[in-house]
Symmetry: C2
Subunit: 303 residues, 2 copies
């Protein structure tokens, strides 16, 4: 089985990219789209982010056999309530949120008796909004599907096939394990980046202009992540609190150990640590999860 | 006045790039090069990183009117001692180290009575060694020159002109201020990146394979910086200890505040912080210090 009519609720970076990718790679699939912001709906219509842009969420999901909620994780419950009365029997509800236990709980509460299969494509950029989407966003990126126990495996397979068609590689795991994995691979890095960019902005002895001028020494890398959508990330931290705090505790312990090594002048500990961390970059490049060119292939290093 | 014969001691990423850039943009300038590692010297000769690759540091600096030490900051003193007897009168000694107070002290001690003008081009990639260099590395990047008080301004101007010719923008400041600025724009970001990559590698509940697969959620950005040269970075932290510890203290306070906001569910504090950090990215792009394309223009997002 496969999905013939897909409704996309929320037309930002992720929702827009799903619409564009479906049009390109699954041209037989009908898409409808809705966004709570009228300006985003108008822009989405201009850009053709879905086959039809609807005036209400209920209109968008009528007749859909797959609904994908692409709103901040804190807004999932309300978005589900809006469509609850309009779903056709057998419709599968999915999403793209960065935390999965909280989303599953919110959707279960709003849509009792409905088939809910949460998903998370691990892809994105620091840009947001309807203009940020593009059809190849999911190419070679992983999409994690977190079906609750007892979900019909044919439906899980159909959702996997949908994401594979969009170019993604698919993994299946429990919502709890997803939240732990993403806490370290995504949520903690974002928290650290947001923190250091704030720290650098607030100094007295070093001006903001100096921070900007000399950012090529490393700082600029963090500013990309710290430019991500504030609403989305507020919701992620509030909705994956336990796992984020757990990873943060580990990070703080490790940072304290390196801080101590610097204070006492323990060069061997620093050298050993810095040597060990080098290997993981090579693995990420070998697995096709990053650009092998120096400095991510930034334009200013073309030669 | 200008420099006609430039000796480059240390032929890794920075030294090699200086040699290649001088050949391209200052073809009338004669360059000599030396590296303590015979294998690096052999490779440097193959790659043409300097006009002549010499068998000793003393040979390389004979007749030079500018010597640039491109070795880890902890090795500056020993490198200076090696050339002490071979310098011609009036020769200017400079370097490319990432900490300036400690380098100035080490060079003053090893080369009393010599004109020493430390410098730091804020440029690089995560790669190191003789194969990592390229002629355009310094294009539009800042080079900070930190002359001690009383330095002949004509010599500072000549060094500025040399770096300008290589494509850099030049600033002059005190060694102390340099060390504070770089602690926040470069040293702290590297320490944080090295820490989080180590933390992610050491988890029990999340495998290293999972960390690698889902690294596109943010983590992979940190692995680039954490792949930088371990010897260079050990020396940076040992030689700019006070400023790094000062910045680290600020960072830890700010991280603790965000951690508390997550724990108590204070979404407004998170949202305000995340909104504030967005603006600085735009300034960095406007100042030409980073690539404006989403995700640094990584190849996998070409569409």
């Amino acid at each position: 089985m496969s999905f013939d009519k897909v409704a996309i609720i929320g037309l930002g970076l992720l929702g827009g990219s799903i619409g564009l990718a479906t049009a390109r790679y699954l041209p037989g699939v009908v898409t409808t789209g809705y966004d709570a912001d009228p300006a985003v709906r108008a822009r989405a219509a201009e850009l053709g982010l879905a086959g039809t842009i609807c005036a209400s969420a209920a209109d968008a999901v009528t007749d859909a056999d797959l609904v994908i909620l692409c709103v901040p994780v804190g807004a999932m419950g309300d978005a589900a309530i809006e469509i609850a009365g309009a779903l056709r029997p057998g419709c599968v509800i999915s999403d793209v949120g960065s935390s999965k236990q909280s989303v599953l709980a919110a959707l279960n509460k709003a849509l009792p008796g409905t088939t809910i299969i949460p998903a998370h494509p691990v892809a994105g950029t620091e840009h947001s909004g309807p203009d940020a989407g593009f059809a190849s966003l999911f190419h070679s990126r992983w999409c994690i599907i977190t079906p609750p126990e007892g979900t019909d495996s044919a439906l899980v397979d159909a959702l996997s096939a949908f994401w594979s068609a969009l170019g993604a590689k698919v993994d299946v795991m429990s919502p709890r394990h997803h939240d732990l994995v993403l806490a370290v691979t995504s949520h903690l890095p974002h928290l650290i980046a947001y923190t250091i960019v704030g720290t650098a902005s607030d100094l007295e002895e070093v001006t903001r202009s100096e921070v900007i001028k000399y950012s090529a020494g490393g700082f600029r890398d963090f500013t990309r992540i710290a430019a991500s959508d504030p609403t989305m990330w507020r919701d992620v931290f509030l909705n994956n609190k336990e796992a984020v705090l757990q990873m943060l505790q580990r990070f703080t312990e490790d940072l304290t150990a390196l801080q101590r090594a610097i204070r006492v002048g323990d060069g061997d500990t620093l050298f050993d640590h810095f040597t060990r961390t080098r290997a993981i970059r090579r693995s990420i490049i070998d697995e096709g999860q990053d650009d092998a060119r120096p400095d991510f292939g930034r334009g200013d290093h073309e030669d």
